[in-house]
C-alpha cells in the first residue's frame, strides 16, 4: 500500500465525566499495572509515591455544611498541555521548554512524551508543571521478587533519579500501529487506541479520542456545557481579542484533558474561581 498523505491528523485528548465517576479505583490499578509503577514497601507514604494517575477525593466542605455537602472523585493524570500554541505547530507545554535534555517533548499527535532514560534528573519540568503530574524517582524503582513477572515489556523500567509521567499510554498506540502494519495498513491516521485507564473504567466516565475529529465522542464532550479544564484561567475570558492579548503576555496551559461536571462547586474548585 502506498501512503500519499503522511501528515499526522490526530490530536489525542481525553474527557472525564466526573458525574459518572463512582471512585471505584479501577483506572488507578489499570494505570499502575500497565505502566510498571514501582512498588515501595509503603506506598501509602504519599511524598515517596510514584504514580501517574492520582484518584483525588474532593469535597465542597469549605463552603458547605452538613448535610449540604458533596464528595467527588477526580482522576488526575498528565493534562497534556498544549500551551498558547502561537504559530508553533506542536504546541509548547510548560515542561517542554525547560527540559535541558530533550527528555520531554511534544509529538505531532499532541502527546507530551517523557523518555526516562534521557532524563538527567534536574526536576525543572516537575517545578514547571502546574498540575503536579510528574513524579521523581527518589529511590530506585523496585519490584520485589515475583512482582517482576507482571511487568509490561512495552514500558521501560525507570532508573533512580529520573522523572516519570503519564504519556497517554502511547506505547499502546505503538502496539496498535505495529499490529496495523503487520496487516499491511501503513496509514498512521487509520489507527486508534485506548489508554489503560479509559478501557478499565466500568462506567465509561473516561473517554479518549481524537480532538481534531469533530465527530469523535471526545470532541463533542469537550464542547459540552459541562466541560471544564483544570485551572486553565484563560477559558473564562470570552472576548477573543482580550484572549489574544493575554496569550501574548502569558503562557497558559491549554490542556487536552477535559473534565465534565454538572456540579457548580466542583466547577468552581477546578477553575479556582467562584460563581461560574
Amino acid at each position: 500500500m502506498i501512503v500519499k498523505d503522511t501528515a499526522m491528523k490526530r490530536k489525542w485528548g481525553m474527557a472525564i465525566d466526573l458525574d459518572k465517576c463512582t471512585g471505584c479505583g479501577a483506572c488507578s490499578i489499570a494505570c499502575n499495572q500497565e505502566n510498571n509503577m514501582p512498588i515501595f514497601e509503603d506506598d501509602s507514604d504519599v511524598p515517596k509515591r510514584v504514580a501517574f494517575l492520582e484518584l483525588m477525593k474532593v469535597t465542597n466542605d469549605r463552603d458547605a455544611k452538613f448535610p449540604d455537602v458533596k464528595t467527588a472523585f477526580l482522576p488526575k493524570m498528565c493534562q497534556q498541555c498544549e500551551g498558547n500554541d502561537s504559530g508553533h505547530h506542536k504546541g509548547e507545554p510548560p515542561c517542554v521548554s525547560v527540559c535541558p535534555a530533550v527528555a520531554t517533548d511534544v509529538g505531532d499527535d499532541g502527546v507530551v512524551s517523557q523518555i526516562w532514560s534521557r532524563c538527567i534528573g534536574c526536576r525543572y519540568c516537575q517545578t514547571a508543571c502546574p498540575y503536579e503530574a510528574r513524579a521523581f524517582n527518589w529511590w530506585k524503582p523496585e519490584y520485589e521478587g515475583s512482582f517482576k513477572k507482571s511487568l509490561n515489556a512495552e514500558v521501560s523500567v525507570a532508573s533512580r533519579g529520573t522523572i516519570v509521567k503519564c504519556t497517554f499510554c502511547s506505547h499502546i498506540w505503538k502496539r496498535e500501529r505495529d499490529k496495523a502494519v503487520a496487516k499491511g495498513i501503513l496509514d498512521i491516521n487509520a489507527v486508534t487506541y485506548t489508554p489503560a485507564c479509559a478501557s478499565a473504567c466500568p462506567t465509561g466516565a473516561i473517554v479518549f479520542g481524537d480532538l481534531n475529529d469533530p465527530e469523535s465522542e471526545v470532541s463533542k464532550l469537550a464542547k459540552s456545557d459541562r466541560a471544564v479544564r483544570l485551572v486553565n484561567t484563560i477559558d473564562d475570558v470570552k472576548d477573543p481579542d482580550k484572549k489574544k492579548a493575554l496569550m501574548n503576555k502569558k503562557q497558559f496551559m491549554n490542556p487536552k484533558v477535559y473534565y465534565l461536571t454538572s456540579q457548580p462547586w466542583l466547577r468552581d474548585m477546578m477553575r479556582f474561581k467562584k460563581n461560574s
Binding site: D43, S44, D61, P141, S146, P202
Partner: protein
C-alpha cells in the same frame, strides 16, 4: 613545648591522611559510592519479552463471577482487562498471582499460635494429618465440634458447606455479608430488580461503593442516570453515593432504622397501607405506639415534614424500592432495621424487591450467625475457607483465644490475621491459575498450590464419613427459588426495637458516635496487601504512617480538636490507638468517621501495621436474628 620540626610535621600530616583514608574506607562511603555507580551506569531490570496473547477467564472464587481478558507476554500474565467491570478482588488478581509473600506450599505451624512460624510440608502429609484429626473427632462422636467459616458463597464456599454438613456438623458460617444478614433476618435474601425501579430509598446503603454485587451496581448506576431514577440516600456521612443521589438526607448516626419505623408508621396510620407479612399486625402496633412521627423526627434529626414528604414520594412512585444494609463491602445492620425496611417494600407492594433462597447456601447453622458462634460456640476443629474472621469480626480477639485451643486449617493464598492461628495453611490457586467450566487456566500454577475446590474434595475423600458425599470434580451450583411468604418473628426482636431509642439517645459517658467509611479499593480490608491499592489511598486517610479519622468542624471545635491533632477514641469495649483528625463537614455533627480495612496484624508486609482496626472497639452486641453484631454505630468518647 617542643618545637615541631619538619620530620614531625610530615609524620603528623601523613598520619592525618592515613587516618582519614582509613576512616573513609571503614565508614562504608566508598562502597555506597560504588553501589550508586552501579545503579546509575547499569541498565535497569528489563522485563522479559515474548509473544503477546489475550486469554479469557471467568472467576469462580468471587461472587460476582467476573469475566476478564488477560494480556499475556510469553508465559507471564501482565494485565487484567474487562469491558464489563471487575470486582476489586479480581482487579487485584495479578498482584495476588505474583505476590512475593504468596504461600507456595502447604505450611505446618512450628511456633506458638499467632507467632507466624510455619514450615512447608507436602500435600500428602498435610491432608493426612488433617483428615486423621477429623476422623478421630468424628469417631469420638464429637462431629459437631468441627466448624467452618467461608469467605463467600462462591463454589468453594458451597463445597465446604456440603463437606462439613456431611461430616455431621451444622457449624458452617459465612463472613457477614449483605446476603447472610438479610437471609437470617427475613428468611431469604432480597433480589433487587434495580433496572425497573424509578425511586430508590436507601437507608445508609452505599450503593455504588461496593454494596451488593459491586460490578452490577456500577451498571445499575449508569442506568439510573439515564432514566433519571430518584435516589434518596439517608446516611450520616455524605460519601460518593450520597453525592450522586438526587437527595441526600443527613441523619444522626445509627438512627436509620428509626427513620424506617417512622416512615412505616406514617404509611400505616396516615396512608392506610398494610403489609401481607405474617405478624404484621403485632409489629405495626409496636411501631405505632413506640415511634410516633414527632419522636422519630427528634431522634433522627430529620424534620417531621421532611419524613412525610419522603414517605409520600415513596408511596406515590410507580415502582419504588427501599434498600437496607448499611455500608459497602463491609455491611452491617440489625434485624429490626432490615425487617423495617423490607416492610416498607411490602407496604407499597414494590415489584423491585423479592425474597429468594439459594438451595446450596442455607445460612442455617447451630448459631444464627458467625458472631454468635464466636461468642458462645465451641469448636475443636476449624476450617477457614479464605475467610479472615479474626480481622473482620468485631469479636476477633475472642475468636483468637478459641482458635488457640482448636485445630485450625486455613485455606488462604496470603498469610492473614486468622491464618496466623492456623495449624495448617493450605494455599489455593488464584483465579488466573484455576480451571473453570468456561476456561482453561490462564497461567501455570505457582509451585505447590491447588484449587480450593480440589483441596476440599480431596480432604472429603480422605475422611471416612464424607468419602462419598461430594462429587469428584465440578459441583452443581444451587438454584434460586422464591420465598413463598414473608414472615418475621416479632417477639424475638421486640427487645431490640425497644433498645434502639436508648442506644442512639443521650449518653453522658460516651457522647460521640463512631461510624465506618470505606476507601476506594481498600474496602473492608482485603485490598491492603496489594501495593497498587496502597498507591491509591488519599493523603487525608493515611499519609506517612499517620492514620486519619474524619470529624465535623463544629464538633471538633466543641471537643477541642483541630486539623491534624491526635485523637484517642474509647468505647465501652476498649481504647483504640493513636489516630489523627481530618476536619471535613461531609461527616454529621457529633460523629467520628473512621476508615475500615486498616490495622491488620498479619497481612503481608504491605498490609501490616498500617492504621487502626476500628472493629476492635465497635459494638459487639449480637443480634438475636442475624447472629451478627450490629457494629455500625458505636458510642465513644474522644480525647
Amino acid at each position: 613545648m617542643k618545637k615541631i620540626d619538619r620530620k614531625d610535621f610530615l609524620k603528623i600530616g601523613s598520619g592525618a591522611v592515613v587516618g582519614g583514608l582509613a576512616g573513609y574506607t571503614l565508614s562504608g562511603a566508598p562502597f555506597l559510592g560504588f553501589q550508586w555507580l552501579v545503579e546509575w551506569t547499569q541498565d535497569q531490570y528489563v522485563p522479559a519479552p515474548g509473544i503477546e496473547k489475550y486469554v479469557k477467564a471467568v472467576s469462580d472464587s468471587c461472587t460476582c463471577g467476573c469475566k476478564v481478558s488477560v494480556r499475556k507476554i510469553g508465559d507471564r500474565a501482565v494485565k487484567i482487562e474487562s469491558k464489563e467491570g471487575v470486582c476489586p478482588a479480581c482487579l487485584n488478581g495479578l498482584q495476588l498471582l505474583y505476590h512475593p509473600e504468596r504461600i507456595a506450599a502447604p505450611m505446618k505451624r512450628t511456633g506458638s499460635k499467632g507467632s507466624g512460624n510455619f514450615q512447608p510440608v507436602s500435600w500428602e502429609q498435610a491432608l493426612k494429618d488433617i483428615s486423621s484429626k477429623m476422623n478421630s473427632i468424628i469417631n469420638e462422636g464429637k462431629a459437631n465440634t468441627i466448624a467452618a467459616v467461608n469467605k463467600n458463597e462462591s463454589l468453594n464456599g458451597q463445597l465446604m458447606e456440603k463437606f462439613i454438613k456431611a461430616a455431621g456438623s451444622n457449624n458452617v458460617y459465612y463472613e457477614s455479608s449483605l446476603n447472610s444478614i438479610t437471609s437470617q433476618a427475613l428468611g431469604g435474601y432480597i433480589k433487587y430488580n434495580f433496572s425497573n425501579t424509578d425511586y430508590i430509598l436507601s437507608f445508609g446503603s452505599r450503593l455504588v461503593e461496593g454494596w451488593g454485587d459491586a460490578v452490577d451496581m456500577q451498571k445499575q448506576f449508569l442506568n439510573w442516570k439515564k432514566k433519571n431514577v430518584k435516589i434518596v440516600q439517608a446516611d450520616s456521612v455524605c460519601t460518593r453515593t450520597g453525592s450522586i443521589a438526587t437527595e441526600f438526607v443527613g441523619i444522626k448516626p445509627g438512627t436509620e432504622a428509626i427513620l424506617a419505623f417512622g416512615i412505616a408508621n406514617y404509611l400505616i396510620t396516615g396512608k392506610k397501607k398494610i403489609s401481607s407479612g405474617g405478624e404484621f399486625a403485632k409489629w405495626s402496633q409496636i411501631i405505632i405506639n413506640k415511634y410516633p412521627l414527632g419522636k422519630v423526627a427528634q431522634i433522627t434529626g430529620i424534620a417531621e415534614d421532611k419524613i412525610k414528604k419522603i414517605a409520600d414520594e415513596f408511596a406515590a412512585a410507580k415502582n419504588p424500592v427501599a434498600v437496607a444494609g448499611k455500608g459497602g463491602y463491609g455491611v452491617s445492620g440489625s434485624s429490626a432495621e432490615i425487617i423495617a425496611v423490607y416492610c416498607l417494600n411490602t407496604l407499597v407492594k414494590s415489584k423491585a424487591a423479592s425474597l429468594v433462597k439459594n438451595s446450596a447456601v442455607s445460612y442455617s447453622a447451630e448459631f444464627a450467625g458467625l458472631d454468635g458462634f464466636i461468642k458462645d460456640g465451641n469448636f475443636a476443629m476449624m476450617f477457614l475457607n479464605g475467610s479472615d474472621p479474626v480481622y473482620k469480626s468485631v469479636l476477633g480477639d475472642d475468636l483468637k483465644k478459641k482458635l488457640e485451643k482448636a485445630f485450625v486449617v486455613s485455606i488462604a493464598p496470603l498469610m492473614n490475621d486468622s491464618s496466623a492461628y492456623a495449624d495448617y495453611i493450605l494455599p489455593p490457586l488464584s483465579f488466573l491459575e484455576a480451571e473453570t467450566k468456561e476456561n482453561k487456566p490462564v497461567v501455570k500454577a505457582l509451585k505447590e498450590t491447588k484449587d480450593a475446590k480440589e483441596i476440599i474434595t480431596s480432604l472429603a475423600a480422605m475422611v471416612d464419613k464424607t468419602k462419598n458425599a461430594l462429587p469428584k470434580s465440578a459441583v452443581v451450583s444451587g438454584r434460586e427459588s422464591a420465598v413463598s411468604k414473608f414472615s418475621f418473628n416479632v417477639s424475638k426482636i421486640k427487645a431490640e426495637i425497644d433498645a434502639y431509642e436508648k442506644k442512639v439517645g443521650q449518653n453522658a459517658e460516651y457522647p460521640v458516635t463512631l461510624v465506618p467509611i470505606e476507601i476506594p479499593l481498600v474496602g473492608d480490608g482485603d485490598g491492603l496487601a496489594f501495593p497498587y491499592v496502597l498507591k491509591s489511598i488519599d493523603p487525608s486517610t493515611m499519609n506517612v504512617g499517620k492514620f486519619y479519622v474524619q470529624m465535623n468542624r463544629e464538633t471538633a471545635d466543641k471537643y477541642g480538636f483541630s486539623e491534624g491533632s491526635s485523637i484517642k477514641i474509647t468505647s465501652a469495649r476498649g481504647k483504640l490507638g493513636k489516630a489523627y483528625v481530618h476536619l471535613t463537614d461531609v461527616v454529621a455533627p457529633e460523629t467520628v468517621a473512621i476508615p475500615l480495612g486498616f490495622g491488620h496484624e498479619s497481612y503481608t508486609k504491605y498490609g501490616n501495621e498500617k492504621g487502626l482496626n476500628p472493629k476492635k472497639i465497635m459494638t459487639a452486641d449480637v443480634d438475636p436474628l442475624t447472629g451478627t453484631a450490629d457494629w455500625w454505630s458505636t458510642r465513644v468518647k474522644i480525647s
